[in-house]
């Protein structure tokens, strides 16, 4: 059975086409980088795969089920339970502390507050930011914020983590720390990661790279990299 799959996905913003028929397979447990020049449709593909956007045409299947036709509520539930989402910046609720931000998905799932906080603290610890548990995002560094956001994306132990330029707003070292933690934890938990980036250095964290160009997968040989022969994993 295929794990996560896009078949001929088309999506436009108004009259501007972003995706013109993308076909892509993501296997369980692999880390895939989606790269390409600005405006190639990387983020849109991620949003379609994660069920945030509905494609105009084509299919998105998740473990054999087509999710592109699901209602907003059903897709919300899927994103809350099976998927985790991580953005470039600005995703933490400014008024909540780090621990509360991380606990939010668990509270939504109906977990009790005490239990949710314990889990949140564990994940903050794993990402090396336990010291900011009771601090609000405005008082953290960008790297700390992004690590909290990563903890929030992983706290529900999702099967797939979607990360859209997760280090785009960070300096190199902070970005490396976020990615190192993210990749290590994903491998430990056997979480699949779809990583959107324009930086070769960030794409280097993936097992495989898919390059988009003008809304389609670039098959010119440049975009398709087989995984390393006898490489990592």
């Amino acid at each position: 059975m295929t794990y996560l799959q896009a078949r001929g996905v088309v999506r436009a913003y108004g009259r501007t086409p972003a995706l013109r028929g993308v076909t892509l397979d993501v296997a369980e447990g692999e880390i895939v980088a989606v790269t390409g020049p600005s405006g190639c449709g990387r983020s849109t593909l991620l949003h379609c795969l994660a069920g945030i956007l509905r494609p105009d045409a084509g299919q998105v299947t998740w473990r054999g089920e087509r999710i592109d036709g699901w209602s907003e509520a059903a897709r919300s539930r899927l994103r809350r339970t099976e998927f985790g989402v991580l953005f470039q910046f600005g995703q933490l609720v400014a008024e909540l502390t780090a621990a509360e931000n991380v606990a939010l998905p668990l509270l939504l799932a109906g977990t009790g507050r005490r239990e949710a906080r314990t889990a949140a603290l564990t994940w903050l610890e794993r990402l090396g930011v336990a010291e900011v548990a009771d601090v609000r995002p405005g008082e953290m560094s960008g790297g700390q914020q992004q690590r909290c956001a990563t903890a929030r994306a992983l706290v529900t132990e999702p099967r797939v983590l979607f990360a859209d330029e997760p280090t785009g707003a960070l300096d190199t070292l902070a970005g490396e720390q976020v990615l190192t933690h993210l990749v290590r934890l994903a491998r430990d938990q056997h979480t699949t990661v779809v990583l959107v980036t324009h930086e070769p250095r960030v794409a280097g964290y993936a097992d495989r790279e898919v390059m988009l160009r003008d809304g389609v997968v670039d098959h010119s040989g440049l975009g398709l990299d087989a995984s390393l022969p006898g490489g990592h994993r």
């Binding site: 070769p200 250095r201 280097g204 993936a206 097992d207 040989g221 990299d225 390393l228």
Partner: protein, 181 residues
């Protein structure tokens, strides 16, 4: 990349105390994990040159169930030479000297654009594979600081090469289009 001055690296390693040749080789390979490993012959040749220049001196012999080993220590002049080296700024990229760069230029000169393109694509694939390998080394939970620093150094250069490869591919495509239309 300019050649690393082995003699100065050895001076630096001896600054922490006297060592004999084998120890120096081990220390070198450990501290510079991603560098080309040092050959024994090179260690002894370099030590001999440093001795001739009066920067190191033998500091006693040691017999350890094998052949004689001569330990070396810095002379009074040694630290000064090391200081001078450390204080000298490396000329930043004095020449654009890279086989990668030369190959692309020559490919465009003697072959057609497609040839250059094919080469660029193959090279990019190799670069990406190496980048991924080094990233895996770096993110391994067992990686030491020296491992991470060495991998960082290599990754930064591969990253720069890859960016250049991308840009060049786009430029070549544009140039091709301009010439053939």
């Amino acid at each position: 990349m300019t050649r690393v001055s082995t003699s100065h690296v050895l001076l630096g390693l001896l600054a922490t105390g006297p060592r004999h040749g084998y120890e120096l080789k081990r220390a070198h390979d450990e501290r510079l994990p991603r560098a080309r490993p040092l050959a024994f012959g090179q260690v002894y040749a370099t030590l001999a040159r440093l001795h001739r220049d009066g920067l190191v001196a033998p500091a006693g012999q040691e017999r350890d169930g094998g052949p004689d080993r001569t330990a070396y220590a810095l002379t009074g002049e040694g630290p000064h030479a090391l200081d001078r080296w450390l204080a000298t700024v490396e000329p930043p990229m004095p020449y654009v000297a890279s086989t990668l760069f030369a190959k692309v230029v020559v490919a465009l000169l003697v072959a057609d654009v497609d040839r250059a393109r094919d080469y660029l694509i193959a090279q990019r694939r190799a670069h990406t594979a190496r980048l991924r390998e080094l990233t895996a080394v770096k993110t391994a939970p067992t990686a030491s600081l020296d491992d991470v620093l060495a991998a960082d150094f290599a990754i930064a250069h591969l990253d720069a090469d890859l960016r250049w490869l991308h840009t060049t591919l786009d430029r070549v495509a544009d140039w091709h289009r301009e010439v053939h239309s």
